[in-house]
Symmetry: C2
Subunit: 179 residues, 2 copies
């Protein structure tokens, strides 16, 4: 599950949509946009699921503290993606996370996150996809790609209207169901 914190509807609309699409395409089972509601993003993601399939949950407005508390109460683990964290390439943080074998809540910020995010009431691990500033979309994608060892990219998304048939050249889409 992915928790998007700090979404500002006017400013972050497209970035948060991309974060949600990345979550879905890279194997997360859902996204929670905490603290705020944004029906436009819900509609964008709803349309993607209708067309391209897959099981993916969308939740918005829940206070982030409640999301984190409930997740931990269910024996889940919280991963905070931040450029300040342990480097996913040079440290063994990914191995330590995997060894626990718990369900993950992956937290991605937008604006500057509250400092308590870094400490153990929130983050079990602070993970940096490199220690340079870049993009929450990129951090989420690379974290999930490494955590799931690439298998997410060949996963079948059932019950959609369309799917892409990969090709060397050109574009091919198969319509699976007429509706």
């Amino acid at each position: 599950m992915v928790l998007r914190w700090g979404h500002r509807p006017a400013r972050d609309a497209r970035l948060t949509s991309h974060v949600a699409l990345v979550a879905r395409a890279f194997g997360a089972d859902g996204i929670i946009i905490s603290d705020v509601e944004d029906n436009k993003i819900r509609d964008t993601i709803g349309k993607i699921i209708e067309n391209w399939g897959g099981a993916f949950t969308f939740e918005m407005g829940t206070p982030w503290k409640k999301v984190v508390r409930d997740w931990k109460a269910n024996d889940g683990m919280v991963i905070h993606l931040t450029a300040y964290g342990e480097n996913i390439q040079s440290s063994d943080v990914l191995g330590r996370i995997k060894r626990h074998g718990k369900n993950l809540l992956v937290v991605v910020g937008s604006q500057k996150v509250p400092s308590e995010f870094y400490y153990k009431d929130v983050a079990d691990f602070n993970v940096a996809v490199g220690n340079q500033p870049h993009s929450e979309c990129a951090s989420l994608a690379v974290f999930l790609d490494r955590f799931l060892e690439g298998n997410e990219l060949t996963k079948a998304f059932g019950n959609g209207r369309m799917r892409i048939v990969p090709m060397e050249r050109g574009k091919k889409v198969k319509i699976d169901h007429e509706i």
Copy 2:
């Protein structure tokens, strides 16, 4: 080198900034925003380089056909990232690209790209970071992470003012030079 095609200054400002930051953080040596000029993005990237270091070129306004033609004339290879291409996980496309050992121009679109992008006057390879819709930031990051085998995430960026010291908890920044 990364070529960002189809940037629309009003609509794509933040996404294109993120694409440029991803290019830099994931080991590309520069970015070209083709066909349009956008001084705000140039300034954003300039400030990042000043603060966080590294050699990274920024070019804008050059027609994409000229960029591609010049790249190929210098024996470079063009990679087009698209959800319609060969799946980076289930095909051997990455191995075929590496075997050529050529300098890469990685093309990322924004709006719908012209169909000629898919054919060999432009793309030597069409690569899909999964065949689901998601985000050009994510595609670029995962493509570079796999192409460079993760080594880009520990690369030292010289001549910056600051660098992050990775930590399990909290935030630590080292100021390397006073200016």
